[in-house]
C-alpha cells in the first residue's frame, strides 16, 4: 500500500482531484442548503446547483454521456416538475416557519451517525484504490451507446414499458372525478376545481415524455 501511495503521490493531489474537490464542496453546500432552507422555491433552485455540480463531477470522471443526460433530465425536467408541484400546491413565497418537522434533531442525529459510519467504512475500504483516468474516455457517447444497445437492449426496452406504465399511472391519478360515476368515467364540467388537476396531468406527463427521448 505504501508503494501504491508513493507512486500516486498520496499527499500531492492532481489537478483533477483538486477540481473534483472544489466542485464537490459546491455540490455538497448546495445540497445542505436545499434540505435546510426555509424558502421552498429556493430549495428547488439550490437543487439545480447540486444536480449541476454532480453533472460536472461526471464530466471529471470522463462519463460525458451520463453528464449530459443528467443535465437534460434532472436540471431540465425534474426540477421544473418540482417547481410545478410547488406552485400547484400553493407553496408559500418567502420564509415558511414550518418547513421542518419536529423531529429534525433526531433526523440530524441519524444523518450524522450514518455519515460517520459510511465515511469511515468507505475510506478504510478504498484507501489504496486509484481511478485511472488516462486514455480513452470511459463514457463517451459512442462507448455508452454501443454497450447500451449491444448488451443492455432488453432492460432498455423494459424501461420503456415502465415509463409507459408511469405515464398511464400519472394520468389516472391526476384525473378528477373518476370516483363519481360507477363505471369509472370522469364527469365532464366539474367546475373550476378541475383546473389544478388538468394542469397537473399535463405537467408530469409532458416532461416525462421529454425525458423518455
Amino acid at each position: 500500500m505504501t508503494l501504491a501511495a508513493a507512486s500516486h503521490g498520496f499527499l500531492t493531489p492532481s489537478g483533477v482531484e483538486i477540481a473534483f474537490l472544489l466542485v464537490g464542496l459546491v455540490t455538497l453546500g448546495a445540497a445542505v442548503v436545499t434540505v435546510t432552507t426555509k424558502q421552498l422555491v429556493h430549495a428547488a433552485l439550490w437543487l439545480v446547483v447540486a444536480l449541476g455540480g454532480i453533472a460536472v463531477e461526471y464530466l471529471l470522471l470522463t462519463a460525458e454521456f451520463i453528464a449530459w443526460v443528467q443535465v437534460l433530465i434532472y436540471v431540465g425536467s425534474v426540477v421544473v416538475l418540482l417547481l410545478f408541484g410547488l406552485m400547484l400546491t400553493k407553496a408559500p413565497i418567502g420564509r415558511s416557519p414550518d418547513a421542518d418537522s419536529g423531529n429534525r434533531w433526531a433526523a440530524l442525529l441519524v444523518a450524522l451517525a450514518s455519515a460517520a459510519v459510511l465515511v469511515w467504512v468507505v475510506v478504510d475500504a478504498f484507501r489504496a484504490s486509484w481511478i485511472d483516468l488516462d486514455g480513452a474516455a470511459q463514457g463517451s457517447t459512442e462507448v455508452s451507446g454501443r454497450s447500451l444497445f449491444q448488451h443492455w437492449v432488453l432492460p432498455f426496452e423494459a424501461l420503456s414499458v415502465l415509463l409507459l406504465a408511469a405515464l398511464v399511472g400519472a394520468i389516472v391519478l391526476s384525473r378528477r372525478g373518476g370516483e363519481d360515476t360507477p363505471d369509472g368515467r370522469a364527469v365532464p364540467g366539474n367546475g373550476h376545481a378541475a383546473a389544478p388537476g388538468a394542469a397537473a396531468s399535463t405537467g408530469p406527463d409532458s416532461a416525462r415524455r421529454e425525458g423518455q427521448r
Binding site: L47, V69, V78, G102, S129, W152, A200, P204
Partner: protein, 124 residues
Amino acid sequence: MHLAYPAVLAVLLFCVGLYGVLARRNAILVLMSVELMLNAVNLNLVAFDVWLRDTLHAGQALTLFTIAVAAAEIGIGLAIVLLVYRNRGSSDVDKLTDLAERPAGDGADEPPHHPSDQQAEAAA
C-alpha cells in the same frame, strides 16, 4: 484520481438527502431529498464503473436506468402529492395520520376530520 473522493462525496450527499427525508415536512421537499439520495447512488455507480474499467459498462447503463426510473418516480410522486393536496388541502406529511395507531379509547368514534376533507366529501 483517488477513489475515496467520489465515494466520500456520494456518502455525504446520501446522508444530506437522508436528513432531508427525515426532517422535512412538505412532501415536495421530501421528494427533492429523495432525488439527492438517488444522485449520490448514481455518482457511486459511475465512479466504480470508471474504476473497474468494465467492458460491459454495467455501471453507466445502470446509472441511465436509475435516472429514467427516478424521472418516473418523480412524476408519480408529484401526481400523488397533488392528489393528496386536492383532497386534504395540505401537503404536509405530518398531517397525513389517518392510518396511525391511536391510543385505545381516544377518538374511536370521532375520527379526526379535516375541514377541507369534509368539503371534498360534500363536493363528491
